[in-house]
Subunit: 155 residues, 3 copies
């Protein structure tokens, strides 16, 4: 693939790669608990459940991040992806702890996924508006998206 | 990303976005049942199982739809994607009902996925034929795909 | 989509299509065992578990393969994808057998996924180096990747 394409997606690829490494980390945790299953069945159950919840949401996350990155702008999408990975790490670690103390629900990272979906919608709307009405405010929308992605840092 | 790329994928992005919203709807259903798990364990089991079956097939659906859209033509691929989402909604709702009455199997949307796979194969074959024998019937194949996608409406 | 894009991804699409067919094969196995669940619950449990482990790793595999194919070169990525599918087939068949005899773990295809991740990293590094220092060794890296993918055949 020529360099023009890579230039537009390389940040997304880096985030995808980090998420793959995180998946491998989760899988290794499950593998490790799986071998000591006889000793501690409850811990295996918790790790396996946390891994499954993370894996259930993974294709959704990838699809939304790539769509947002392709349709609008890759920098805020990749930044939101990093935030999502941090949230997921905290969720997984929290799940492995005592379930009585910390009780994370089934869902996590709702705000990040919502932001990425919003980016998709804005990108598509922007494209349709440009197509039917002419351009001129594409850069304006991208600037707003860059600024809004910083708001995700607010806990 | 420039507008040329978005022009060729925006219908696929819209379908992907709708599927993400549907995933969020499923996940919220599971979350809701998870909190009332003590009251009604059977209902939680059913919702969780329906969600897992849907999530198992989700990456396959996304991969086939995007490949079909990129290789051949995006309009019939996006249309088939919409049909698939409707089938999935019906499957999920049917699963949540009484299992004795409605017994949906493990698989669903076989016909739609088969159609999308066929589109991929046709697209790749078409590309290889064009590459080795010269072009001229690309528009012909796209017209047939557009017409064939309407056949999915037949129940 | 025009032919220029298809030319750069058609091998990846073919591998994706084969993986979808394999997924369908796995799902049909589960469906079949699901119907005879009352007779042989242990077999259903095994097939279902094998299918779930395969499906858990599927989005990761797709993401890594496409990133590697887009960032560096599609031929070695598609080849590694084929190797991964063979490994997965062996894993699934081995899981269905007597668990006492063959005890495949939770993970499989680690080496292939590691190779694909390495390809991603090399591709991104290569892009960044080209961007900041000028080009000239892109073909060199691609040749090495093609040669290295043959090493995956060593068991």
């Amino acid at each position: 693939m020529n360099l023009v394409v890579v230039e537009n997606i390389y940040l997304l690829v880096i985030v995808t790669l980090i998420s793959v490494l995180q998946n491998a980390f989760f899988a290794l945790k499950v593998e490790k608990e799986c071998k000591t299953q006889n000793v501690n069945a409850a811990a295996f159950e918790r790790v396996s459940c946390a891994n499954r919840n993370c894996m259930d949401a993974y294709p959704t996350f990838l699809a939304v991040m790539w769509c947002a990155g392709l349709c609008l702008s890759q920098a805020p999408a990749a930044f939101a992806g990093i935030i999502y990975l941090v949230v997921r790490q905290k969720y997984f670690v929290g799940y492995m702890g005592q379930t009585s103390q910390s009780t994370p629900g089934y869902l996590f990272g709702k705000r990040v996924l919502g932001f990425l979906s919003l980016m998709c919608i804005v990108g598509i709307s922007s494209y349709l508006l440009v197509r039917f009405y002419g351009n001129g405010y594409k850069e304006y929308v991208e600037t707003i998206a860059n600024a809004a992605s910083a708001l995700l840092l607010i806990p």
